[in-house]
């Protein structure tokens, strides 16, 4: 019944399918981020406590929540790769890791630039900030493990185990503001109850979160395609592409 799924594990089909999906992801991402950022910067009402500094939220929260979602995506791909030995899943995990690292770095930096005017300090060693920093190190660990083996099957196994073990950190980040007292404010978006923000503030935020997700998807597809080519250099269809590229 699930046999149709396996055909997408074929590198050539995966390469072509991601090529078809890429323009959709890219265009939607640009539209969402453009709309969300313009709305957030220009039209959302000012926060009565934090003034205009709260406008950092429109990149900080999307980056922070997507840094966790991206980690889960990478770990799931690694899990599929480890358990069912599907190489395309390993390549997907390898494609995602650098993107996650950049997004996590953005979440940390925008958090620092928001913390300085609001808390009076760029950094504190509290649970939320420290666990997010650990997430960055996990990404860097996965990237370096994957890069340090010549044999990429072995490399993907080593990096995959680290990625899966590191999943424990994600709920710690998520619930750190509830479990420990923290300088970091609790989350403003609530799924089950009413959010603590007005709609005019929250819509651009949700749009930007969707936009960041789509953008991460688009960059993943770009890197995934390059990774497929790099791992299949012996195959005739890749060699044809290489000859065509060299002639350019």
């Amino acid at each position: 019944m699930w046999k149709w799924l396996h055909t997408y594990a074929d590198p050539e089909r995966a390469y072509k399918l991601s090529g078809t999906l890429l323009p959709w992801f890219a265009c939607l991402a640009i539209a969402f981020i453009g709309l969300g950022t313009t709305w957030g910067l220009l039209f959302a009402p000012m926060d009565y406590q934090q003034g205009d500094s709260f406008r950092i939220i429109y990149i900080h929260v999307p980056a922070a929540s997507m840094s966790m979602a991206t980690y889960m995506a990478m770990a799931s791909a690694s899990f599929v790769g480890l358990v069912w030995q599907i190489k395309s899943a390993d390549w997907a995990a390898a494609a995602i890791a650098p993107i996650g690292a950049i997004i996590t770095f953005i979440a940390l930096l925008t958090g620092a630039a928001w913390g300085k005017p609001m808390w009076g300090t760029w950094w504190v060693w509290d649970a939320r900030l420290t666990s997010e920093l650990v997430l960055l190190f996990l990404y860097l660990g996965v990237i370096s493990l994957y890069a340090s083996f010549e044999d990429k099957v072995l490399a993907a196994r080593a990096a995959g185990i680290l990625a899966i073990v590191g999943v424990i950190n994600v709920p710690i980040i998520k619930y750190s503001v509830d479990w420990w007292s923290s300088l970091h404010q609790p989350s403003t978006i609530k799924i089950t109850e009413k959010s603590t923000m007005t709609n005019e503030m929250i819509f651009p935020l949700l749009i930007n979160m969707a936009g960041f997700g789509l953008m991460i998807g688009a960059i993943t597809l770009v890197r995934y395609r390059a990774e497929i080519l790099a791992r299949n250099g012996m195959r005739p269809w890749v060699r044809e592409l290489a000859t065509a590229e060299e002639a350019k």
């Binding site: 205009d52 500094s53 406008r55 930096l109 960059i219 390059a226 080519l229 290489a242």
Partner: protein, 66 residues
């Protein structure tokens, strides 16, 4: 529109430095990541093409010796 003038928009109610630092670094990082990712495909293909030429040369040399 929340701002009266462009100067006010840049000033961000006194938080201009922090807001624009955040947005600047974010879009700078993302632009770098996207550029490197897009260029990677060509880099990989050129490398494969070079490897093919090397293999081809090895094969030819072996042919002349025997």
């Amino acid at each position: 529109m929340q701002f009266e003038s462009f100067a006010e928009f840049i000033n961000m109610g006194g938080y201009g430095f922090y807001v624009w630092l955040s947005y600047g670094v974010t879009f700078g990082c993302l632009a770098t990541l996207i550029t490197l990712s897009v260029r990677k495909k060509r880099k990989v293909l050129i490398e494969i093409a070079k490897k093919m030429t090397r293999e081809q040369r090895l094969k030819e040399n072996r042919g002349t010796k025997s």
